[in-house]
């Protein structure tokens, strides 16, 4: 009986959510077709499909790529994101294992400092952090990785610590008795077990670093190095006038790699978010 009722409701719900899903992706579709229209038609008739009069082919794309050197921005974003996530995973997981396994006043203090840093908003440290980074010459794509490791360590260490506590000590002890030193124990025994947590952390940190605007804007020497969000914001220019054609085209280019990445790793992303939420 309940099955029949469910099915009836089911069709109505499926229809409702199908329409809602279409409405949900509409903003992106509108941006895509606007990216092929002449500037003036984008701001005056944003909801009209391109026609013979407004269609400009790839002009906006060529224009935008020239203006903000999109391929370079993409390269910097990719390098900084991959580099930061790799360094964060490697260093914070080792640190988390150390401060969980070695119990002392110092490691306990470190744990609470890491946890504390998670609630501090970036604005609290933005001025002093950018000055310190400047003094230490960290305003380049390699240096900023150190800044990301420092400012992103809180969440990562906290999540890894939560997991390390659940690993039974016996496995590690038997490895040590068999003659492994702590480094071997860590890389052969502990790290492989932590893989699911490492994927969660990697996804959360990657989403943050890839989309981050203010930290790289203040830390990087932006005359030389622009990441994608900085390059997009740069299109606005100093006088508030936006080249809408180039803007639409660059937004499309910025979204394409994200969508491809999302479709490829969807399962991991969604599981990562759930795991991160439960432990955070």
């Amino acid at each position: 009986m309940t099955n029949v009722r469910k099915a009836k409701h089911g069709w109505a719900l499926t229809l409702f959510f199908s329409l809602l899903s279409i409405a949900y992706v509409m903003p992106i579709i509108i941006v895509i077709f606007n990216s092929f229209k002449r500037k003036i038609f984008i701001s005056n008739r944003p909801f009209q499909l391109p026609d013979a009069k407004s269609f400009v082919g790839l002009e906006n794309y060529i224009n935008g790529i020239e203006k903000i050197e999109f391929p370079r921005a993409f390269g910097y974003s990719l390098f900084i994101t991959v580099g930061s996530v790799f360094v964060i995973i490697l260093c914070t997981s080792m640190c988390a294992w150390y401060i969980t396994r070695v119990k002392s006043a110092i490691t306990t203090g470190m744990y609470y400092l890491f946890a504390f840093s998670m609630i501090v908003p970036f604005q609290m440290v933005m001025f002093t952090l950018s000055k310190i980074a400047d003094i230490l010459k960290l305003g380049n794509p390699v240096g900023i990785i150190i800044v990301y490791l420092g400012f992103g360590a809180g969440l990562a260490v906290f999540m890894f610590c939560g997991f390390v506590k659940s690993i039974p000590l016996e496995i590690e002890e038997s490895a040590m008795i068999d003659g492994c030193n702590p480094l071997q124990t860590y890389f052969k025994i502990v790290f492989p077990v932590m893989k699911p947590t490492a994927i969660s952390v990697a996804i959360l940190e990657a989403m943050w670093v890839w989309n981050d605007y203010l930290l790289p804007y203040l830390v990087l020497d932006i005359k030389k190095y622009k990441t994608i969000p900085i390059a997009i914001q740069y299109l606005k220019g100093g006088y508030g006038a936006i080249d809408m054609g180039a803007m639409m085209a660059m937004i499309v280019l910025a979204i394409i790699p994200i969508v491809i990445f999302y479709i490829a790793c969807q399962k991991h992303i969604i599981e990562g978010v759930v795991a991160g939420a439960v432990k955070g």
Binding site: T14, S21, V120, M126, T128, I132, N211, I232
Partner: protein, 280 residues
Amino acid sequence: MEKAIKRYFPIFALPTFAAFSIGFILPFILGVYLSFCEFTTVTDATFVGLKNYIRIWGDETFIHALWYTSLFTVVSVLTINILAFAVAMLLTKGIKGTNIFRTVFFMPNLIGGIILGYIWQLILNGILLNFDRTLTYSSAYGFWGLIILMNWQQIGYMMIIYIAGIQNIPGELIEAAKIDGANNRQLLRHVTLPMVMPSITICSFLTLTNSFKLYDQNLALTAGEPSNKSEMLALNIYNTFYGRTGWEGVGQAKAVIFFLAVALIAIVQLRLTRSKEVQA
């Protein structure tokens, strides 16, 4: 075993801790100190006591931003969580296409705040065009525009967490309630809601802090126009630092107040919702 690991501090814990010192501890301490100083850069500070904190309250833009941000936070936390929970309830009924709908609703989360801001600027300005208005016509448009944007971005993320929470409710519990004659409303109020309380804690925490700390979306959508009336706290602090010479100290003092507000909200909220969590 602990002793053997302990000697490995420089390899395991030092890299993260050194970066953490540069990226968080040092900027934080220096930031607190500078909030009591007058300065233009970190090396020329002179101590002025509470002067900066007193000057904040004479700054109308800050008071306005504080109210604007608080109101925005309340409205966005309520709308995002209610809608995300409703969608999660409907998407756990096992209807056709659930996976596709989930995928679609989650996608906007992967797009950065700056890009989201420009996407919605196009859409909302396009709609307002019919009424001969723009987003920057009044701060109310900026407000509701940001609410729509944040809902579009965050509903998917919170929905994922709520779905995980709902799926964790043991089936016997619902069966038992049904046998006892509970109707759908009673089921929701006395079984489902108490059981997903951990998810509610996390989601309200995330939306609360995300909304209160919002910067990128605010910058891209309206940049505080008209005349700083749609400016939220994070943007106000940025503009105080980098837009007004002689106000750096006040900017840092605002940042300290901002941090204290975020910390206070986070603690109160966690206490409040944690106390309502139950065990099955």
